[in-house]
């Protein structure tokens, strides 16, 4: 039997499906290959880290700018950009080149994440307000939480001002004053079902307004 280990043993000794000789460099050492979004998507799916760097260099400024415009907070906007690119790299197949440009896909992803963050923050603030009314002994929010809450709320408050009066009133009662839907309906002097209906319409319009902000910024 040979003392020298055959090289071909190496060829199949790895876990099948995973090649070796692969590096984890993030800086492109080969020129930008450019090409269509379909080619970029195929390269991303093949694990081409240089393609990821190319996409980032080309589109990250627009994604970051859009997220920053909606959120108004730099650190949170950076987190959104990171989420968007990690998602693209982890699941490149979710982008369908036939459905539209990669630029649009990424900015839409950023928009959804930014809007979700604002919604989540609003819910958190509303819960906090309700909680503080019920439990006066709760600790004050941290400076970061205060900044986040104020900046996120400011973006939404601006959007709320564009709503029709009847919808704006119910949003203010439900979110900014922290009332339940039933309480908001009683305060507005309308049936609860009507309040819910106006709230749904208002939220849909808010989303549209916030979406437009991001699209314009990108």
């Amino acid at each position: 039997m040979l003392a020298t280990r055959s090289v071909v043993d190496d060829l199949v000794s790895d876990r099948p499906g995973i090649g070796s000789c692969r590096v984890a460099e993030t800086r492109a050492s080969v020129h930008d290959m450019g090409g269509t979004d379909a080619l970029l998507a195929a390269r991303l799916a093949a694990g081409d880290h240089l393609a990821l760097a190319e996409v980032f260099d080309r589109l990250a400024p627009a994604v970051y700018s859009g997220a920053l415009r909606v959120l108004g907070h730099d650190a949170t906007a950076q987190d959104v950009v990171q989420d968007v690119f990690v998602e693209l790299w982890s699941h490149p197949g979710r982008y369908d080149p036939d459905a539209g440009p990669l630029r649009t896909y990424l900015t839409m992803q950023a928009r959804h994440r930014a809007v979700d963050l604002i919604r989540s923050e609003l819910r958190r603030v509303a819960r906090q307000e309700r909680s503080s009314r019920l439990e006066p002994g709760q600790p004050d929010p941290s400076p970061y939480e205060q900044v986040m809450a104020s900046e996120a709320a400011a973006a939404v408050r601006a959007a709320v001002q564009k709503l029709p009066e009847s919808q704006r009133r119910i949003v203010e009662l439900a979110y900014f004053k922290g009332l339940t839907c039933r309480e908001a309906a009683q305060a507005a002097g309308i049936p609860e079902g009507t309040a819910k209906s106006r709230l749904r319409l208002a939220l849909a319009k808010l989303e549209t307004v916030l979406d437009r902000q991001l699209l314009e910024s990108s």
Partner: protein
């Protein structure tokens, strides 16, 4: 002022942070979705099933069509039966088959098909392939080295090379019979592309590409992946070449069944070197007979075994790309 000019600059460090986070989520080079992992034995079994299935749809007149090297389809199937029989001898420890010629040793099996009913040829090949699988199963350790047709290699590598060979010849027959080409499943294809990528430096060296060159190879589609392959000798590569093409097309190239001009290629860097790399890839022709040719150029004395000839060959580690991850 354009929209781009109005945009705020990216914060310092954001690019590095995000690219690093991405590569932590999914390592570079890994295809997504990954092909399900299979063994070389399974790849051979699948290739055998595909080959047998293809033979089943041939018309009687197809068996007489010219396929390869002067063999008609029936003769080519006979050649493959002969290869299986040599593998059986190899697995039984027959030293004579270690140095046997891939073509010469199987010629009798090809010749004896003349005048037979195609069904008999097909059934004989199936029995031979099944016998190979039975012997492999009985052997258990597919990491054990075996010697056949002038090369020594681990059994699992032999099975993978045989899977590649069956796929190539299946398509030789398909072409002869006017049938559409077939594509291996992603798992099998993945084993093929891994082997091709790793053997590329061998072929490049043989093709005269000795200057240090870094090849960034991206094979797209199922069974693909990304490799950074140092080629040539000397210190850090002075030149970089980027090659992007689809995995199946690259396998056709590696099988010497397609030329670079027939592929959908995207090349960056030194185009002359890229052309040399592609020409080298096409010289790989990953079947048993061609591997023997490659082994011949890196022949080393066969040590230690009394019952084999000193001229037996082995593929050696020094021409394989360094493992980086």
């Amino acid at each position: 002022m354009t929209a781009a000019e109005q945009r705020p600059a990216l914060p310092d460090g954001l690019r590095d942070r995000i690219l690093a986070a991405s590569l932590r989520a999914r390592a570079a080079g890994r295809p997504e979705p990954p092909a399900p992992e299979i063994t070389a034995e399974e790849a051979f079994s699948r290739a055998a099933d595909a080959f047998y299935g293809m033979l089943g749809v041939l018309q009687t007149q197809d068996w007489g069509r010219q396929a390869l090297r002067g063999l008609d389809v029936q003769g080519l199937v006979g050649h493959l039966t002969g290869v299986e029989e040599d593998v059986h001898r190899c697995l039984a420890g027959d030293p004579q088959v270690a140095l046997a010629s891939h073509v010469g040793s199987t010629q009798a099996a090809a010749d004896r098909q003349a005048g037979r009913p195609p069904a008999q040829t097909r059934a004989e090949w199936r029995r031979a392939a099944d016998r190979t699988l039975d012997l492999v199963h009985a052997a258990g350790d597919t990491g054990a080295e075996v010697a056949v047709h002038g090369i020594r290699l681990p059994l699992r590598m032999l099975l993978m090379v045989r899977a590649f060979e069956l796929w190539i010849h299946e398509n030789d027959i398909r072409q002869a019979a006017g049938l559409p080409p077939s594509v291996p499943d992603p798992s099998t294809l993945s084993l093929m592309t891994q082997a091709a990528a790793r053997l590329l430096p061998h072929a490049a060296a043989r093709g005269g590409l000795r200057e240090p060159t870094s090849v960034h190879l991206v094979l797209t589609g199922p069974g693909g992946g990304t490799w950074d392959i140092p080629i040539g000798h000397g210190s850090p590569a002075a030149a970089s070449v980027g090659i992007v093409t689809d995995a199946v097309g690259f396998c056709w190239l590696v099988a010497n069944r397609a030329t670079p001009d027939r592929l959908d290629l995207h090349i960056t860097g030194d185009s002359d070197r890229a052309a040399m790399v592609l020409a080298a890839a096409s010289s790989l022709a990953l079947d048993l007979s061609n591997l023997r040719c490659q082994a011949a150029m890196i022949a080393r004395p066969f040590r230690g075994s009394e019952d084999t000839q000193q001229t037996a060959l082995v593929l050696t580690p020094d021409l394989i790309p360094t493992r980086n991850s």
